[in-house]
């Protein structure tokens, strides 16, 4: 297992420890947080984490903004929905086919769109998102129009229909972990370095033989594959899709998730997704109290304020900022200190082992 995971900047060990910790956390979470509402929120967080992972590759590492990521998410969801409901395909086959189709669309869109840079690229991707949203709304014969497409079958594994939320929770988070490992591998590879080089200086990257346009396209397609798979999972979980779940609002929320987690941070993705998801739940409670006729517009206003604040004060994202603050406060030393003291006070009862030296962090 360990050989399948890349060495990160902090060494392979850090990634393995992180992965172990996350797996343990995710595996035990439903034991104490098992209300249906919490479970369904956690499933959605998992699904959004997958999209965020892809977006972080594209935005954080390759430095190419996408304000239309909800479109890929929607294409995956509708691909699965249409293929299973209208064409009667098996869900897994539909998932793979949708991902391939969405990847192809991303590739075809990427060719013209990467002639644009910076703000213009942002506008281009935004326009793509809007177009897809309109198509989902208007192509009624296939998509069912604004009322959506109901009756999507649930996923099955080996003849077993995944009915309960708990099973689905584990399936989604298993896929999140797989997606996370793949993203880590990509980032810590020759390709990942090329992406980071492009973000820093496209001119210098090309002068070293990096085909910038090709790399950007590959990053775009990868992020679209991530979004599409997440979209399929979404469709089979909700067993109903409608265009409103894949509008500009969603794109903004996805960018916010990536930014909160830290744009150039694979590990930030689950935290970003969780933070924004919880925020939107809180906002849904708060906004009606502030403005009686409050709706999505006020929510997006709040997102905007939050995004600007993060970009100004924590451009590397909440996760990185939190880690920094933890380090500055000597968090590790504090914990180790407490443990040592605990050991000292327990000396009588606890058989004392060799004392470990050099505990603490290198930096």
């Amino acid at each position: 297992m360990s050989r399948l995971i890349a060495y990160g900047p902090g060494g392979q060990r850090r990634n393995l420890v992180g992965l172990g910790a996350l797996t343990l956390f995710v595996a035990t979470l439903p034991l104490w947080l098992n209300s249906p509402y919490a479970l369904s929120t956690l499933i959605l967080i998992g699904i959004y984490t997958i999209v965020t992972l892809g977006l972080s590759l594209l935005m954080g590492y390759a430095g190419q903004i996408s304000l239309g990521q909800a479109a890929f998410f929607g294409l995956g969801a509708y691909g699965s929905a249409v293929l299973t409901v209208q064409a009667g395909w098996s869900p897994w086959l539909a998932l793979i086919a949708s991902a391939l189709g969405t990847g192809l669309i991303a590739y075809l869109i990427g060719i013209p769109i990467f002639r644009l840079r910076g703000h213009y690229l942002a506008m281009g991707t935004l326009a793509f998102g809007v177009i897809v949203h309109i198509v989902l709304n208007e192509w009624k014969v296939v998509t069912g129009g604004p009322t959506g497409l109901p009756g999507i079958p649930r996923l099955t594994v080996g003849g077993l229909v995944l009915k309960g939320d708990l099973v689905y929770y584990y399936l989604v988070w298993l896929l999140v972990l797989v997606a996370l490992v793949i993203a880590l591998n990509i980032v810590n590879s020759r390709f990942g370095r090329a992406l980071r080089a492009i973000r820093d200086s496209e001119l210098a990257a090309e002068s070293l033989g990096v085909e910038a346009t090709r790399c950007k396209l590959q990053a775009m397609v990868t992020s679209a594959l991530y979004a599409s798979v997440a979209g399929s999972l979404y469709a089979h979980y909700m067993i109903f899709v409608s265009p409103s779940a894949f509008d500009f609002d969603t794109s903004v929320r996805l960018v916010l998730m990536a930014a909160v987690g830290g744009l150039a941070s694979i590990w930030g993705a689950p935290f970003g997704a969780a933070a924004v998801m919880l925020l939107s739940l809180v906002l849904r409670e708060i906004i009606p109290l502030l403005t009686p006729r409050g709706s999505g517009e006020q929510q997006i206003l709040a997102y905007g304020v939050l995004l600007v604040t993060i970009m100004i004060f924590m451009p590397e994202g909440l996760t990185v900022a939190a880690v920094r603050a933890w380090q500055r406060a000597g968090g590790m030393r504090l914990v180790v200190g407490v443990l040592v003291r605990l050991q000292v006070s327990l000396r009588g009862v606890w058989p004392r082992r060799r004392r470990r030296k050099g505990v603490g962090r290198g930096r």
């Binding site: 390709f191 080089a197 210098a204």
Partner: protein, 258 residues
């Protein structure tokens, strides 16, 4: 490599006017001239950042026009920039590993699954990159953030990065600008080292084209000098000859008094 009657026009301004010269394998050629003479423009044309308005660049008898910079790197033409342009968000070693990019073969999906060949390739590239870092004397700083290096060392890093592409032609754009005496000396020694010995890990001895202001450095390093003035080739020849050429002295070095 040959540069044939290259002309570059930016609107009404003629930056280069029918400039021709050729460079022999293994030589160090210096392009000198006052500010605005078109030196960097010429370098950009050779590297492929600019397409000339007229004329052409031949490399091993092949026309280079229409090939983007990354394609020229694969042919063996590497360059550095005046501003160093190192990748700020990477370690020193990773910077050089980007230079090894074209030697890697792993595709994206290989990396995603971390196939055995990707692991092997990463190890190879790491070792290679370390050798180039040692060559420029930055081996001990491999794991530092590249942004934390002083400017002089960033220049050396940029050279290591360019060398990592195994170039047969190395284009250096004012490598000494903004460096202090000590750093200049390090730089000169480095250029001499990759030329005169087989210290280069891959034994490349790249032909070097050097755009430079610092005459002391040029005299020390160059075998051949091309002098540009207002986009025209004013003179060319062996370093010693050019130094004594009255036209050059007048245009560039200034008229000697007394």
């Amino acid at each position: 490599m040959e540069v044939e009657r290259v002309r570059q026009q930016f609107g009404g301004v003629i930056a280069l006017d029918d400039v021709s010269f050729s460079v022999c394998t293994g030589q160090v050629l210096a392009i000198i001239g006052p500010n605005g003479a078109g030196k960097t423009t010429l370098l950009n044309i050779i590297a492929g950042t600019l397409e000339p308005t007229a004329g052409q660049v031949l490399f091993r008898g092949q026309r280079l026009s229409g090939r983007p910079p990354y394609a020229r790197v694969r042919l063996g033409i590497a360059r550095t920039f005046q501003q160093a342009l190192i990748f700020q968000n990477m370690t020193v070693l990773e910077n050089v590993m980007v230079g090894c990019h074209i030697r890697g073969r792993g595709e994206l999906w290989h990396a995603a699954l971390r196939l055995p060949r990707v692991r092997r390739e990463e190890e190879d590239l790491t070792l290679d990159a370390l050798r180039f870092l040692n060559l420029v004397g930055l081996g001990s700083k491999a794991d530092q953030d590249a942004a934390a290096l002083p400017f002089g060392q960033q220049r050396l890093l940029a050279i290591a990065r360019a060398l990592a592409t195994s170039p047969s032609i190395l284009l250096l754009d004012e490598p000494a600008a903004g460096l202090n005496r000590l750093e200049k000396n390090d730089l000169a020694e480095l250029i001499q080292r990759i030329h005169e010995t087989s210290a280069d890990p891959l034994g490349l001895r790249p032909t070097t084209i050097l755009v430079e202001h610092d005459m002391e450095l040029v005299m020390r390093l160059a075998d051949w000098v091309v002098v540009l003035d207002h986009g025209k080739r004013l003179a060319q020849g062996r370093t010693e000859e050019v130094r004594r050429n009255p036209a050059v002295i007048e245009a560039y070095l200034g008229v000697e008094e007394g």
